[in-house]
Symmetry: C2
Subunit: 500 residues, 2 copies
C-alpha cells in the first residue's frame, strides 16, 4: 500500500468540489463489471486524494496511525463475517468482546476478583456496551440514566400507581407526570461534546434539556455553579437525568474535576456520567492517571476504542459500574436475544453489528498497560514541545494550556502583539486576529503538507468566542522533527501574510 | 485463510460455556507481548470455533458469504482509517458515500436527473444516512418522523406560540402539550423488527407507543384494521408518528401491501416508513420487484448493506424521499460539522464512523442491477426447492409459504400427522410438536454440520404461538446439494427421535 506512505497530509490543491465532481453518477450500472477496473479507479479517485490520517504531520485530528497488525486483523474480521448481536452468529467473538469489556471495566473501576468472576461472562447483565462510536455510547449512557430515573415500580404491570410501567414502557409524557416532574435536564458545561445535543434531542428532552454551567479559566466545570443549578432544579421539580463530566474535552482537552462532580452526584443522588472518549486512556499512564481521579465513582463512562485505544473506527464503549442497571433498557424478542441467552443484542441499542471488539481485545493483550501508558506519555510530551516552540516565536497567544495532549493557541498580527500582552485589544483587533487565524489555517490546509485544526471557542478572558488553532498529537509516527516542520510551515505563512 | 474453508457451520460439540471459559481474564497485562503469539491464540480460540457464516450449509441466518473483493477492501479501508463524520478526515470517502446513497435512492424512488443533479452532492441536505446497522436506520427514520410531526413553527425562537421551538428544542412533554396530543403511536404489525421497540423506547414514546395491528394468514398487515386504528387515534388526540410497512419481515420474509399502506398514509397525512432491511434488494429483480410496489411512496426507507447488498457488517441505510426533511434532526457544532460544510456528521445520529460505504459503492458498481438481480432470483429459487423437499417427506407442516427467500415450517411427530391434516390437533399435541422442533433444531445445531434457525411465531390458524424452523437462503455458495444435505440431516434426527 505504497500510495498511503505519503509525506503529505492531503494531495495539494484538490478541492472538495473537484472530488464531488467525481461522484455525480446516480445510476446503478445495468451490467456487472470488472473488479480490477473498479479497484484501479478506486485507488486513483479515492485512496490517493484521501486524508492521510496516518501522516506524522497531521496533528489536528483525533485520527492517527494504528498498530500494523490492525490491517491483517481487519481482513480476518471481514472474512469471518461474525455478527455479534447473538451467539448463533458470533459464537467466540461474543465472549471475546466481553473479556475486552471486563479488562477496561477493571482498569476503570477496580472492583476486584469476585466481582469480575461473577459478571464478566454472565448472561444476566453486562459490564458495558460496544457501540459504533462515542456518540452512541453517550446516547446509551443517557438512555440508561433516563430510564433508571423514571423507572418502573412494583411489578411494572401498570395496573395501578404502585405498579407503574416506567418510561421504557409508558413513555416520557406519562412517566414525567407520574413522578411529578415538570421538566428534565442533563447538566454539564458548554464543553460537552455535541453528541450530548443529539442525545438530549433523541431521548425526548430537547436540546434545551442540556443545562450548561460555566467553565473556569482552565476550561473545567465550575463546581459551585453546578451545585447551584442542582439545587435550583430539585427545588423547581426539574428531573436531573445526569451530571456529566468531561475527561478530555474534544475542543480543549481539559479534564473536569471528576471527584468533585462525583461528590455532588452522591450528595444529591443523581446519575454521574463521564465522557472520557478522548482522555480515558490516561488511566494507563503513571504520570497522567492522577488527572482521572473520580472516574471510578461514575455510574457510566464513555471510552472510544478508535481514539487513544488505537483501534480502527467503529469501537465506542459505554461502561456501567453496576452491570445490573442494564435492566432499565434491556429488550428481548422471540427469535433471537431471548432473555436467558448470552446474546448481547439484548443490551445494545444497535442490533446486527461487526465483531469490532476483536481489535480492542488484540490491542489490550498486545500493548498492555505498559504500551498504552508509553503512548499517552509520549503524546503529552510532544504537545508540550509544540507549545514551547510556538511561544518561542513571539507571535502567538496561549488559549488553552495543554492538560494532556490537546493545545489551543492563536497567532496575533505583529502590530497587535504589544496590545495583546498589555491586555488592551479592542473588538476590531479581535476580529482582525480571528480573520488571520482562519486564513492561516485554510492556507496551511490547502498546501496539504501539514495540518492543524481550527475551532471557535468561548474565551472567559475576553468574554467572547475566539478563533483558535488546535493541535492534537496522538500519532506514534509523529516525531519532534515533524512538529518543527509544522511550526515552520505556520510561521512561513504568517510571515507571508504580514508582508502583504 | 484455510481455517475458514470448512464444510461445517460450527465445530462439533463446543458449547458456549467452553468458549466463555477461555475469556475469563479481566486483567490488562502489565507488559507488552508478541503479536505472533496473540494471533496464533486468536486463530485457535476465536477463528476456528467461530460460526462459519460463509458455510453453504448455514441457511438459517441473514449472514452469508461476501464477494471475494470485500476482504482486501476491508484491509484498505482500515489502512486509510478515514472518519466520515467530516471531510477533514474523510475527504474522498464522503462524496463516494453520497454517490452510493444516490444510486440506491434512485433505484428506490426514481426521481429523475434534475433531482439527483441537485441533491446528490448538496451540502444543504442528504438523500440518506449511512448508519451502523438497520436498527439505527429505523431509529433515525422514527426520529425524523417524530421531529417532523412535532415541528417548530415560525422562527422556532420559542418567544410565543407562533414561534414554537419544536420537539427537537423543547422536548417531548412540551411539544405534545403544544400540539394538543395526549399520546403518540407508531403503527405496524407484530412482525415489526424488535428494533422498533428500541426506537419507541429511546425516542420517549415507550414500548407501548408501538400499536400493533393484526396480520392476516399470509403474515401481511390487515389494511382495514390499520385504517380503523388510524381513525381511532385521530379521534382520540393520539399523534401518529408513523405507519410502518415491512418488506421482508425478519421472522417470516413476508412483505406488507406497501401501496395499500401508502394510500392510507396519504389519506390521513401520516409519515410512511418501510423497513426493507431484508427484502429491499428485491427492487433489483425483474421477477420479484413487483412485490415492492409502493416503496417509492415511502417518506423513509431502511435498507441493510450487510444483508442482501452483500457488504460486511456495519452498513445500515436510512433513505429520505424528501432530502430536506433532514432539517428536523440536523445538528451543528463550532469546531466541526459547521452548517455550510459537506460534513455528514450534521445529519447522522452517529458521530465518528468508518468509511464503510466503500463496500456498498464497490458492490453497486461491480455487481450492478444484473448481479444483484441474479442473486435475489437464485436465492428465491433455492428456498422454493427446499420447501418442496420438506413437503415431499410427509413429516412437516407449512407455517409460512416463502414470499421471497425465507421459509417457516415445523416437523410433526408421525403419530400426529393425520391429526394435523385433519385439523384436529389439541393443545397437548401442540405442546408436543413445539417440543419436537426445539429438540430437533438444538440437536442439529450441536452436530454443527448444518444449521437452520428457530423462532416462536404467532399462528393465525391455531390462534397461539408455535415453534417453527426457519430457513433463510441468501448465500451464493449454497448449492442444491447443500440443501439436500440439510434436509437429510433433519430427517435423520427426526427418525432417531421417532424411534426412541
Amino acid at each position: 500500500m505504497e500510495f498511503l506512505h505519503t509525506e503529505h497530509v492531503t494531495t495539494e490543491h484538490v478541492s472538495l468540489e473537484d472530488i464531488a465532481a467525481r461522484f455525480m453518477d446516480s445510476r446503478v450500472p445495468e451490467q456487472m463489471s470488472s473488479v480490477d477496473t473498479y479497484i484501479d479507479k478506486f485507488v486513483k479517485n479515492v485512496v490517493v486524494d484521501s486524508v492521510h490520517c496516518n501522516a506524522p504531520k497531521m496533528i489536528g485530528h483525533m485520527t492517527m496511525a494504528l498498530p500494523f497488525f490492525m490491517r491483517p486483523l481487519a481482513k480476518l474480521v471481514t472474512a469471518m463475517h461474525q455478527n455479534n448481536v447473538k451467539t448463533e452468529t458470533g459464537k467466540t467473538t461474543t465472549f471475546m468482546e466481553r473479556e475486552a469489556l471486563a479488562m477496561l471495566h477493571r482498569q476503570l473501576f477496580q472492583l476486584g476478583d469476585p466481582f469480575y468472576a461473577e459478571h464478566s461472562q454472565s448472561a444476566a447483565a453486562t459490564l458495558g456496551l460496544v457501540c459504533s462510536g462515542g456518540t452512541l455510547a453517550n446516547i446509551s449512557a443517557m438512555w440508561i440514566a433516563r430510564n433508571a430515573l423514571l423507572r418502573p415500580t412494583g411489578d411494572g404491570s401498570g395496573k395501578d400507581a404502585g405498579n407503574f410501567g416506567g418510561v421504557e414502557k409508558v413513555g416520557l409524557v406519562k412517566a414525567m407526570k407520574h413522578y411529578g416532574f415538570d421538566d428534565a435536564k442533563i447538566i454539564g458545561t458548554a464543553l460537552l461534546h455535541y453528541s450530548m445535543k443529539k442525545a438530549a434531542d433523541v431521548l425526548g428532552l430537547g436540546t434545551e434539556g442540556l443545562l450548561t454551567v460555566p467553565f473556569d479559566n482552565e476550561y473545567k466545570v465550575d463546581l459551585k455553579l453546578m451545585e447551584a443549578e442542582i439545587v435550583r432544579c430539585q427545588a423547581e421539580n426539574i428531573a436531573i437525568v445526569s451530571l456529566v463530566g468531561v475527561a478530555g474535552a474534544t475542543e480543549t482537552g481539559s479534564i473536569d474535576d471528576l471527584a468533585g462532580i462525583a461528590a455532588l452526584a452522591k450528595k444529591y443522588k443523581v446519575h454521574f456520567h463521564v465522557d472520557a472518549a478522548w482522555g480515558g486512556p490516561a488511566i494507563f499512564s503513571e504520570i497522567h492517571s492522577v488527572k482521572m481521579m473520580g472516574i471510578e465513582l461514575a455510574d457510566t463512562v464513555t471510552l472510544d476504542g478508535h481514539k487513544q485505544l488505537y483501534t480502527p473506527m467503529g469501537v465506542g464503549l459505554c461502561f456501567l459500574r453496576d452491570p445490573t442497571n442494564i435492566r432499565f433498557v434491556q429488550k428481548t424478542a422471540n427469535y433471537i436475544i431471548r432473555k436467558e441467552s448470552h446474546d448481547t443484542g439484548k443490551f445494545t441499542m444497535e442490533g446486527s453489528r461487526p465483531a469490532s471488539a476483536v481489535f480492542l481485545h488484540a490491542n489490550l493483550k498486545i500493548l498492555g498497560i505498559e504500551g498504552y501508558g508509553a503512548l499517552i506519555d509520549r503524546s503529552c510530551r510532544l504537545v508540550r514541545i509544540f507549545a514551547d516552540k510556538i511561544f518561542a516565536s513571539n507571535t502567538a497567544e496561549l488559549v488553552v494550556d495543554p492538560d494532556t495532549n490537546i493545545f489551543l493557541y492563536r497567532y496575533v498580527p505583529r502590530h497587535l502583539v504589544e496590545h495583546q500582552r498589555a491586555g488592551t485589544l479592542d473588538e476590531a483587533n479581535q476580529v482582525e486576529i480571528d480573520a488571520l487565524n482562519v486564513r492561516l489555517q485554510t492556507e496551511q490546509k490547502a498546501r496539504g503538507e501539514t495540518f492543524v485544526s481550527r475551532t471557535t471557542i468561548w474565551s472567559p478572558r475576553y468574554n467572547r468566542g475566539i478563533v483558535a488553532l488546535r493541535v492534537v498529537i496522538a500519532n506514534p509516527l509523529t516525531k519532534e522533527s515533524d512538529i518543527q516542520l509544522n511550526v515552520d510551515a505556520q510561521l512561513q505563512i504568517y510571515s507571508e501574510f504580514q508582508e502583504k
